[in-house]
């Protein structure tokens, strides 16, 4: 497989299914035109390294695919500030709650040793669940607001 086809194959991998074939056909046509022009300027065929440089100048396959994709951000700018505030407070609350739980354990049973590995594992799980929950709630809220705005 030549360098250009390998590039297009990578592009196919990253592109959304919708309109993929037509996008790749267009990119192929544009890229081949560029390579042809570059070869005319140099007065000879381009070697693989020169083709790679041309393709990179056009845009890496991931960058190109992202330009063709129109995915909305996970959290839009309108809610971003609110999201970060809530997330930071929620994430701070988890280790705080864990510390309180440890303190209570220590006070209740002085002879019992604290299982620090377990405590850390609970904290990590708590942080992960908090992050996921807050993000999903905001994502749903964001989509609901966008849908409402479109009506």
């Amino acid at each position: 497989m030549n360098v250009t086809e390998a590039y297009l194959k990578r592009l196919v991998f990253w592109l959304p299914r919708k309109n993929r074939d037509s996008i790749v056909e267009e990119v192929r046509s544009v890229v081949l035109d560029r390579l042809e022009q570059a070869a005319v300027i140099k007065g000879r065929h381009l070697d693989d390294e020169e083709i790679k440089r041309e393709l990179n100048a056009f845009g890496s396959s991931v960058v190109m695919a992202s330009r063709y994709s129109q995915y909305p951000p996970v959290i839009s700018a309108a809610l971003a500030l609110f999201y970060w505030k809530v997330l930071s407070v929620a994430l701070l609350a988890v280790p705080l709650a864990q510390s309180v739980a440890i303190a209570v354990t220590v006070m209740r049973a002085t002879s019992q040793r604290i299982d620090w590995a377990m405590a850390l594992s609970h904290t990590a799980n708590g942080l992960l669940i908090t992050f996921t929950t807050v993000t999903i709630v905001f994502l749903l809220l964001d989509r609901a607001i966008q849908k409402h705005d479109q009506l």
């Binding site: 267009e26 544009v30 056009f58």
Partner: protein, 120 residues
């Protein structure tokens, strides 16, 4: 207690500001060029000649986006040795273009007055 030092203002590069300024006019320029049917390379050349240069890697996704928005229509045709996609304003694109031109003229006049420090 140490006195908090005043933070230095963030330096914004002129190229970033220029990009921001250009972003708003790029769609208008593309729509202006596509009142006649053209393929991507022609669009890029005309934009460059008009002082709003754009990379291929940004132009083609933009054309696709404008088509998805119903502002452009496109057809595949052979030109030279290759199949090329030709773009042109769709009827909705033409209406939008006219409205944007009006808007752009009003804004430009307003900004010109501000630059000249004239009273509105």
């Amino acid at each position: 207690m140490k006195k908090k030092l005043a933070e230095a203002p963030k330096q914004v590069s002129i190229s970033a500001l220029r990009q921001e300024l250009r972003r708003g006019t790029l769609v208008l320029a593309v729509l202006a060029v596509l009142r006649d049917e053209r393929h991507g390379a022609e669009v890029r050349e005309m934009l460059t000649a008009g002082g709003v240069a754009i990379d291929d890697g940004a132009l083609y996704p933009m054309l696709r986006r404008l088509e998805d928005q119903g502002l452009l229509r496109s057809d595949w045709r052979f030109e030279g040795s290759r199949n090329k996609r030709f773009y042109m304003l769709a009827p909705h694109g033409l209406d939008t273009f006219k409205q944007l031109v009006e808007e752009w003229r009003e804004q430009t006049e307003g900004v010109e007055r501000l630059i000249r420090k004239e009273q509105p």
